[in-house]
């Protein structure tokens, strides 16, 4: 079982309510040294990137909205570890981590945040709207819930073409209440579309806690009336995410239709840069940070098992910082888009 909304600590055992016996949601994947090291590095890259983005926002280089992913890193990294070439990813506006996870470059993402021509959308999309055809990343969407139908459509395309790729549609606990989510669920199971719905339950939608917005707070069961199996996963433990992702991939690739993974996770920062987060206690945030931090968990295991020394971890940290610093330099020095870009990319 994973953390419940009552804020009790995440316990890494079997899933609360497996809808089907053939799924072991909630188990922990066996990670070897390489898995642990690469998970550590990838999660750290997201963490440091987001910290830098927050800093650039404070300096006025990034404008508008900027939603940081700090605290939720294990979700995208665990999912990514189970993906194969051609699997698609789509998400909302809290998207920087998802993009880095797919292998999109820190430079391209950061330059988009600062609205420069070297950004993934040439500076025209900003924090909430980036895409990469090459990395099969389909955005980057600002309208809460819209990506769920779109992600279902990506799954439709896979089925239509007869390939065995899977579409992964990420959305929040707040987004899970939008009507189009359920319209999509129905079609997805009716047509057996290969879609993994990853609900990132970070307990809040802006200032509204899950309990204040949802009649059914077990999001893994939101597909029950459409016959879609769903599982709760400890989204703070990258191994639990990876285990659930592996099984979900197998479910989708073998033609059984869609599946729901509810990731129990937590965002450390405010909803966006301008949120004082008065709706939750500092203790609650501190407890998650100190007891369940996804990166610290891996770090502790690496040291404990003797798979890395403090110095080796420091070297990784330095590498990651260098990548992030380089992206920040680029994002500040790259020119703004040419003014002629105002009228491009509207129609073909």
């Amino acid at each position: 079982m994973a953390p419940k909304q009552s804020a009790s600590a995440p316990v890494r055992k079997a899933a609360a309510k497996p809808a089907k016996k053939d799924f072991n949601g909630g188990t922990i994947a066996e990670f070897n040294k390489n898995d642990e090291l690469s998970a550590y590095r990838e999660m750290l890259l997201i963490r440091r990137f987001e910290e830098k983005a927050g800093q650039l926002y404070g300096m006025g280089f990034i404008g508008g909205f900027c939603h940081l992913y700090i605290g939720q890193e294990a979700v995208v990294i665990g999912m990514q570890m189970a993906m194969k070439e051609g699997d698609q990813v789509i998400t909302g506006y809290r998207d920087h981590g998802h993009m880095l996870a797919t292998g999109m470059t820190a430079r391209g993402v950061m330059a988009e945040l600062t609205g420069r021509r070297g950004g993934y959308s040439k500076g025209k999309g900003g924090s909430m709207h980036m895409f990469s055809k090459e990395k099969h990343f389909y955005g980057g969407h600002g309208i809460v819930g819209a990506q769920v139908s779109l992600g279902t459509g990506l799954g439709f395309a896979n089925k239509y073409r007869g390939n065995d790729n899977v579409s992964i549609a990420y959305f929040g606990d707040g987004a899970a209440n939008q009507g189009q989510v359920y319209e999509s669920f129905n079609m997805a199971n009716l047509w057996k579309l290969p879609v993994i719905y990853v609900i990132e339950n970070n307990r809040y939608a802006m200032g509204t806690s899950v309990a204040r917005a949802s009649a059914q707070t077990d999001f893994s069961q939101r597909g029950a009336s459409f016959g879609i199996p769903g599982y709760q996963v400890d989204g703070m433990d990258v191994r639990a995410v990876k285990a659930a992702a592996d099984e979900a991939m197998e479910h989708c690739r073998s033609g059984k239709g869609p599946i729901i993974l509810e990731m129990l996770t937590y965002r450390y920062r405010g909803h966006s840069m301008s949120d004082p987060a008065k709706y939750r206690s500092k203790d609650e945030v501190q407890k998650m940070r100190s007891e369940h931090d996804p990166i610290e968990q891996v770090r502790a295991r690496l040291l404990e098992k003797g798979w890395a020394t403090e110095d080796e971890l420091k070297a990784i940290d330095k590498d990651v910082r260098d990548i992030v610093a380089d992206s920040a330099d680029f994002a500040q020095s790259d020119p703004e888009p040419d003014v002629s870009e105002l009228y491009t990319d509207i129609l073909l």
Partner: protein, 469 residues
């Protein structure tokens, strides 16, 4: 190389703040994410987090210091192996890192928050009060009180809720959070959770619930966090709210208000920056109000709540913090569907509404210097439109320019131009010019965003053009 920790900005428009408290001392070890200090602006307090790892070598600004400018070094962080002596050597400029701000809230002028902002009011820099020509609907000699548009809207809702128990407010973050933009501030405390209702993020659903409640005779005020999200709900607004009276042969309708910020905020890109005035103005069965001043916001919102029809009430985030004189009257209600002559003039008629008025007002001042006397009309209501006031003015001036932020094709200005050429063709001395936003989705990049929006220069140029100057 030691790192300078800089005073962070809570937002791009914050210039200075108070360093209220240090939570770390010289010699303390810090890692990324540790809270090292607290800073304050007029209303918000925020924690400063360390971004880098190291040991605090020196605190450069004492706790309690006020008016610390953004990007001023506030502390020096020593890296591994560096001693406090290194502090003497000034750190390299490019090693400057402003601390990250956690849970920041604060000051954006043309900056936005589709999101909870703690001190929305504090974040808008004091705006110069705008001079508004006397409204004939306000009795001469009425005492005036300087009020922000945000407060005026809140007061209007509170007064109507006191007056009529059937009026209630629903929307995302309207209750406990006190409104994503603080427009519903205090309403939950006064009226309770039965009448000030936080909804899930389900616009299509709660708009429909609102229409149903209105059909049953209640008077809902449905707040959209922004009108961009009302696109999720537009079917219920148009197919249910706007048409029920007609379809039921007059038996029942939807006496309600759909309100919220409309139009571009700042740097929030294509999906969060749209002006829906033209969209809703297209629909029979709706009234569409777009106030500019705080007085109009108050008087017209009260009228909208009392109106037996569905009213689309388009506010603007950038106007929320602006102050205007609002008459101190027990029950100040303005007529929907009546334009206000903002400034009398004889050379040319300039028509706008809502945020468009900010461009118009500035253009008028510039044109005055150039010797062109503009009559500026604030339409206030887009549907039903007070065309007689516009036409009467055009008959006097012979020239017309309109300005809005929305897209150019099928714009509100197009409708006005068409009506005027039909009703007052013989009086026109020049073609009608309509200024609008550019025919592109809103770009994020700062330079492109600026180009996509209309600007004062374009208005000035158009007015000069129709005056052949």
């Amino acid at each position: 190389m030691p790192i300078n920790i800089l005073m962070p900005a809570l937002s791009p428009t914050m210039e200075e703040g108070t360093l209220s408290k240090w939570l770390k001392n010289e010699g303390d070890k810090v890692t990324s994410g540790d809270v090292i200090a607290e800073i304050e602006t007029d209303k918000a307090t925020m924690e400063v987090e360390a971004v880098d790892e190291g040991v605090i070598g020196k605190l450069l600004i004492a706790a309690g210091t006020e008016n610390v400018k953004v990007n001023t070094p506030i502390a020096i962080l020593l890296q591994d192996g560096e001693s406090a002596d290194a502090v003497a050597a000034a750190p390299k400029a490019d090693a400057d890192t402003p601390a990250a701000t956690s849970d920041a809230s604060g000051g954006k002028a043309r900056e936005s928050a589709d999101e909870p902002t703690a001190a929305a009011d504090s974040k808008v820099p004091a705006q110069p009060k705008v001079d508004v020509a006397a409204d004939p609907d306000i009795p001469a000699g009425t005492e005036m009180v300087s009020t922000t548009v945000r407060e005026a809207l809140r007061d209007a809702m509170a007064e109507e809720m006191r007056r009529d128990p059937d009026v209630f407010v629903m929307g995302e973050e309207v209750a406990e959070y006190q409104g994503a933009y603080k427009v519903t501030q205090g309403l939950l405390q006064e009226f309770g959770a039965n009448r000030v209702i936080d909804t899930p993020i389900t616009e299509h659903g709660f708009a429909g619930v609102g229409v149903g409640a209105a059909m049953a005779g209640l008077k809902p005020i449905v707040e959209f966090m922004t009108f961009n999200f009302a696109m999720q709900a537009i079917d219920q607004i148009i197919n249910s709210a706007a048409k029920t009276l007609y379809m039921s042969g007059g038996q029942m309708g939807a006496p309600m208000v759909f309100r919220g910020p409309n139009g571009a905020a700042a740097r929030v890109a294509a999906q969060h920056s749209q002006d829906y005035a033209a969209w809703y103005s297209h629909i029979p069965g709706l009234k569409v109000v777009v106030p500019y001043t705080a007085a109009d916001a108050k008087g017209l919102l009260k009228a909208a709540i009392r109106d037996p029809n569905p009213v689309i009430f388009l506010e603007n985030e950038i106007l929320y913090g602006q102050s205007f004189d609002v008459p101190k009257l027990d029950d100040f209600v303005l007529p929907i569907g009546k334009a206000r002559i903002h400034r009398k003039g004889k050379d040319v008629t300039l028509v706008s509404w809502g945020i468009g008025m900010t461009y118009a007002v500035k253009a008028v001042a510039e044109l005055e210097k150039a010797g062109i006397d503009v009559e500026l009309i604030d339409l206030r209501t887009i549907r039903p439109m007070d065309l007689p006031t516009v036409i009467e003015s055009v008959k006097k001036t012979g020239r017309l320019v309109t300005i809005e932020e929305g897209f150019p094709q099928s714009s509100v200005g197009d409708f006005i131009a068409n009506s005027v050429q039909r009703e007052a063709f013989d009086y026109l001395d020049a073609p009608v010019l309509t200024i609008a936003g550019k025919d592109v989705p809103m770009p994020y990049a700062a330079n492109l965003e600026k180009l996509a929006l209309p600007n004062v220069g374009e208005v000035v140029q158009a007015v000069k053009a129709v005056c052949y100057k």
